[in-house]
């Protein structure tokens, strides 16, 4: 179980981005976090994985205070995070990355199992460098595989659907359904996608740095789908028109 209490985060020397977040992620549950762009979802994920440190508040994993642990320690304590924007490496291959993630050398059969989950053929990809030659969707799939390879109790995927083509979408859903079935901890997916929202147990909405709604899917989803974002206040008030 992951518990966030009174978590706040501000841009160093600036604006408050997350304000007093209180959330609990139960074991065995798939939680989808959604909300408008810039709402603070990725920031929250980074705080959980240790890429950022909260200005205040505490984070407990299975009752253990991990607030001041660094990224490596959190990773070793069973947290995995698939980046929204995967990192490219000159020189490291897909195999290297997956082996680092798994923590041991992988046989070709292991690579096939892992990569086929994300719709890639191991033969074509295992020796590819994770450099700028990989397409946006390809690198996103490898990022997802790197988290699956770790088999940690807590997994966070940040917009895993971004860049994944329509044809592969159901495969991706299956990956999460499968992870959900064998879940020992919590599965957290940040997403804007209705089909991902529809497989959630719980849904959390983050907007403007605060939790604006959270609860079981049945309670949250209907309201979300009927909402309609009208853009920004300033433009809807109608600023000055014309070219002068």
């Amino acid at each position: 179980m992951l518990q966030l209490s009174n978590i706040s985060w501000s841009i160093p020397g600036g604006e408050h981005i997350l304000k007093d977040i209180n959330l609990t992620f139960q074991d065995g549950k798939l939680t989808v976090i959604t909300g408008p762009n810039g709402g603070g979802k990725t920031t929250l994920a980074k705080l959980i994985a240790g890429l950022e440190q909260p200005a205040s508040g505490s984070i407990l994993l299975d009752g253990k205070d991990i607030t001041h642990m660094d990224i490596t320690q959190r990773a070793k304590n069973g947290i995995s995070y698939a980046f929204q924007q995967p990192v490219r490496f000159k020189g490291l291959t897909v195999r290297d990355l997956l082996e680092l993630a798994a923590g041991f050398n992988l046989q070709e059969a292991d690579l096939c199992t892992l990569l086929s989950k994300v719709g890639l053929c191991a033969r074509d990809y295992m020796d590819r460098e994770i450099n700028s030659s990989l397409s946006g969707g390809e690198i996103k799939r490898i990022e997802i595989a790197s988290v699956l390879a770790r088999r940690t109790p807590l997994m966070i995927f940040d917009e895993p659907e971004a860049g994944i083509d329509l044809w592969s979408f159901s495969g991706l859903i299956d990956v999460f359904l499968d992870a959900r079935r064998n879940l020992k901890g919590s599965l957290i997916i940040i997403s804007h996608q209705e089909r991902i929202l529809s497989i959630a147990d719980e849904i959390i909405v983050i907007s403007g740095g605060v939790v604006t709604a959270s609860g079981p899917k049945s309670a949250i989803l209907p309201g979300l789908l009927s909402e309609n974002d009208g853009g920004c206040d300033w433009c809807s008030k109608g600023p000055k028109k014309g070219g002068n």
Binding site: A75, F89, G91
Partner: protein, 305 residues
């Protein structure tokens, strides 16, 4: 042959109790052993230290190994090796040089290699440089490589220097005729107070020819590296150079790429990136459970592979 020479050979070449194919082993400034084959003739030069190596036209799938080892201080070896590759030949040449120095005196190897590739021939040239030994004596190398490609010839050069050399000064120049291609992949690692300088000068003289220079280097500690490349496009050709350097600690790297388009249809590109290890790469590997030190080592290892 000395035991230390055998050790060095294992690191810098494919030596395993001997070589298959033609070879010549140079030890402390003298030729220790050499062997020609039916198609590859190795001849000591008459007027200068070094060899003339003739590869018969059409020779395919053979290898030539010409490693050079310096095993002690107070040696200043200078060698001239010329390779004449016959039309349509397709071979692998493995050079490389190991400098071992346990003494306080300087040890230096200076290999001057020229490659003359006839029409449509293909050479894969591998070159590894290392320095070993515990003495304070300076270990240095100053390789000079000149490459002349006739029409349709292809040369791929893989060169690496992974630590151990105090000072290296490498100069590589090439002239490319129509339809020929040159690819150079360079890997450099310097540490401590080591210095490495590399300088490329490539003239592309014929239509459809192209060069690709890819240099990746890591300057650790307080070491210094400089990179200079000058690509001259005299025809309808392509030229690409790429210099990527990582400076994990206080190392310094200067890169001075120069592109000279002397023909409207010359398409020349240069990319250079120098900096510390990308922070986000470290972050990603840490989220996989690696410590900062482990992550850095993996990134550098992959980068220099």
């Amino acid at each position: 042959m000395k035991t230390i020479t055998e050790k060095l050979l294992e690191t810098i070449s494919d030596w395993k109790d001997g070589f298959s194919g033609a070879y010549s082993i140079r030890e402390d400034g003298k030729c220790a052993e050499f062997r020609s084959t039916d198609t590859i003739r190795i001849e000591p030069k008459q007027d200068l230290p070094g060899l003339d190596i003739h590869v018969a036209p059409g020779t395919k799938g053979e290898t030539v190994s010409i490693p050079a080892c310096v095993t002690q201080g107070d040696i200043d070896d200078l060698v001239y090796n010329d390779f004449y590759i016959g039309e349509g030949a397709d071979i692998i040449i493995s050079a490389g040089c190991g400098v071992h120095n346990d003494s306080g005196e300087p040890a230096r190897h200076n290999g001057i290699h020229r490659f003359f590739l006839a029409k449509n021939s293909h050479v894969l040239y591998r070159e590894k440089h290392i320095g070993t030994g515990g003495g304070d004596g300076k270990r240095s190398i100053d390789p000079v490589t000149s490459i002349f490609l006739e029409e349709g010839a292809v040369m791929e050069m893989d060169t690496s220097q992974i630590g151990g050399l105090d000072d290296s000064n490498r100069k590589t120049n090439a002239e490319l005729a129509a339809g020929s291609r040159l690819t150079i992949r360079e890997r450099l690692l310097t540490e401590g107070n080591q210095q490495a300088h590399t300088d490329f000068e490539v003239s592309i003289n014929g239509d459809g020819a192209g060069v690709d220079l890819i240099s990746r280097s890591v300057a650790r500690g307080d070491s210094h590296q400089s990179y200079r490349s000058h690509i001259i496009g005299n025809a309808k050709c392509t030229g690409h150079s790429e210099c990527d350097a990582i400076i994990p600690e206080n190392g310094t790297v200067s890169a001075a790429p120069e592109l000279d388009a002397r023909n409207q249809d010359a398409s020349l590109i240069h990319e250079a990136a120098i900096g510390k290890i990308a922070g986000e790469q470290l972050l990603k590997l840490k989220t996989l459970g690696l410590t900062e030190t482990e992550a850095e080592a993996k990134i550098v290892e992959g980068f220099l592979r």
